[in-house]
Symmetry: C2
Subunit: 134 residues, 2 copies
């Protein structure tokens, strides 16, 4: 996730295709979607699909996230076209978020990663404990 960005980006034209170029846009994109909160938001909303979920509800379903971070994360995902945002002009207002097809499509790669983590967690744990002996 998130992680600190590259120090300086001097050249301008995005040289697509080379993941190892610090200016590579794919790299930035990966940093973004690798973000913890992003991954969780996508998961919740993809699994809720086709239902939408309200802000406060999302907050409840993503334990530990602050209002600020949730807001930021959602804004970025909406801007990227991964989520929709629908405002109900009631009083008090209600805002519903939902996954777009693009957002749904991201959930699959993320799910594969989650599964990998779950499958191999025990193995990794064992290895750490085993090899940490002096």
């Amino acid at each position: 996730m998130p992680t600190r960005g590259e120090p300086r980006v001097t050249t301008s034209p995005p040289p697509r295709g080379d993941l190892f170029d610090p200016n590579c846009p794919t790299r930035h994109l990966l940093d973004r979607i690798g973000d913890k909160w992003t991954a969780m938001a996508i998961k919740v909303l993809a699994q809720a699909h086709p239902d939408e979920v309200r802000f406060a509800d999302l907050r409840r379903r993503i334990p530990g996230i602050s209002s600020k971070m949730l807001s930021q994360t959602l804004q970025a995902l909406v801007a990227d076209g991964l989520l929709t945002r629908r405002v109900e002009a009631t009083v008090p207002p209600a805002v519903w978020y939902g996954a777009t097809p693009l957002g749904l499509s991201l959930d699959q790669p993320l799910a594969i990663l989650r599964n990998w983590a779950e499958s191999h967690m025990a193995e990794i744990d064992t290895h750490r404990r085993t090899s940490q002996a002096t």
Copy 2:
């Protein structure tokens, strides 16, 4: 991406299976492997497999990484059993890193994510530009 961790972890027993529990070990694991440098190191070494790669060579193949970060990243991956580390007692010494089967297995989920990013980058870019109009 690493990303900053959860603020405090008070309870002890790891409640496996609930990705949304802040103490969930899977969540921590995901944070680690989502790290930018980790993803790149795995990619390089998985693609070099079955060849091993030396420290300085890795450094060259991961533009922008510092000696410090590379060292840290590799240490963590070796501790997790994703990489092997082999020291040649020459002068000056040579250290070879290679992917273990576990490391190789991680490259597949990561490759899927990379592919997703590459496939949908254009779409996301377009959406950002389109929707950023006031």
